[in-house]
Subunit: 279 residues, 2 copies
């Protein structure tokens, strides 16, 4: 949602008539289900843009129905199937608004310059560098504390600044459309539903999670050092329970905190569960 | 290959007329390509057995052609598609020879009792317990040193004992048929080919590798504590280079030691490489 702030605060989102569904997709790592792909296709089409204008590359989507269609059909996914295609539609929309060129992922493109400036502002740090994401977007580096600080800022924003109003809209879009932010069965979607809109939750590559808790005025940033996603879902669910925003008796909370690992015959051969650091 | 020792040393393999290809499959975690599936089907059929007699369960195989056939066809893999189906064909063959019942994975079944006895003998330890594998086989616990001891035993066996002769046959089957032990593109297969039959290599679940080095009389056991396979391939390749059995300039060695992580547009966004412990 940091990457989506320039889209909203610049006026580009309103000029393009984007609504909460677009904004949720602009923050999404989606499953590439029909609900995602159809909306991103329509978004691009409404802007006079095409799949070829994206720079994220394609991959077989997580959604089984869409994956099957592709595998048994052309064998080649479109770029809209990329889990980051909504974020990239957001970048493209901003680029159009700024009258900038097509390579919106270049570090010196106006879009990425705007993203870096916002990133450094909300984390409160000068970014020492960047990595390249699976979707080829630059990921600016920061400390874990800096990211948590940014999420706390999202939790506490008011309507008195342009940037604050933009953050509020993005946060609200995520909790209103949890299915668009990720998809069925995904931790972000299922846990946001279980918390009934009180918390915005987002995963990132290499075992990363953030959470925005407006009622508590708290931000959370979680990173599993080895990058293995498997422990991160149990950890974030446990943290949300400890912070009092996720009911430990909710089936979704139980499913993610103490997740069975089932083998080929459905036997629970192992379990992911919170370690001793959690009560 | 420890699990396959009873099959051979009991005389069951010879009574069933099994050759080196069968023995390689009895040690395999294969890709489920046609070369694997056709052979396991034929093996079962030759023994008057059917897919339903297996107890491993099915899964979509790693081989893309076979996976596509299933996904675009019935949608349901057979149990022979399970990467462990060769091991299970071995268990079934032994069970037939012993005149035992159909549930060959039960802990008190003669097959698993034989496996446990051999396991404790070659590791030199009394096993404190077991886990359940993805394929539902019991995996007896041991220390990492115990496993390395077992692999050193495999490296040094001679023909003077029944068990030693069985181990020799299994080891030779693996290095003669590296493609059957895993498959195209897999670390075990590609690295065994690069080492031209001098080393037997086998991966296990949760970031585990063993290597048997007969010319050096050495056994190797490797485990990445967090279970993340991603670092294990670079680590085992680095160890094999350090032990002088893998040419560091061989393209396969380079590909596994310093493995690029490519994103959706084929850009090398990151790299897996050996840490400072390796020269």
């Amino acid at each position: 949602m940091i990457q989506a702030l320039p889209l909203v605060e610049s006026g580009a989102a309103d000029a393009a008539g984007l609504g909460p569904e677009h904004l949720a997709l602009a923050c999404a790592s989606h499953n590439g289900a029909a609900i995602h792909v159809d909306r991103v296709r329509a978004w691009l089409s409404d802007r006079g843009l095409r799949d070829e204008d994206l720079r994220c590359g394609g991959h077989i989507p997580r959604d089984e129905d869409q994956a099957k269609c592709i595998i048994c059909g052309s064998g080649q996914p479109d770029q809209v199937h990329n889990n980051c295609s909504g974020k990239h539609a957001g970048f493209l929309t901003l680029s159009q608004y700024l009258g900038a060129g097509p390579d919106y992922l270049d570090l010196d493109h106006p879009v990425q310059k705007a993203v870096r400036a916002v990133f450094e502002d909300v984390t409160g740090e000068t970014s020492p560098g960047y990595g390249i994401d699976g979707c080829s977007a630059p990921n600016f580096a920061c400390t874990l504390e800096g990211m948590a600080r940014a999420m706390a800022w999202f939790a506490n924003v008011g309507e008195s600044t342009t940037r604050g109003r933009a953050a509020l809209r993005l946060r609200q879009a995520m909790v209103t459309h949890p299915d668009l932010v990720a998809g069925e069965g995904r931790a972000c979607t299922e846990l946001m539903r279980a918390m009934e809109g009180r918390v915005a939750l987002k995963t990132g590559a290499e075992a990363f999670f953030i959470a925005i808790l407006p009622e508590q005025g708290l931000g959370v940033a979680l990173k599993i050092v080895d990058g293995q996603t498997r422990g991160a879902e149990s950890a974030i669910a446990s943290i949300l329970v400890e912070l009092g925003v996720l009911d430990p008796d909710h089936p979704t909370a139980q499913a993610f905190r103490n997740a069975p690992i089932r083998n080929c015959r459905g036997i629970a051969a192992a379990q992911v569960r919170p370690g001793s650091a959690f009560s």
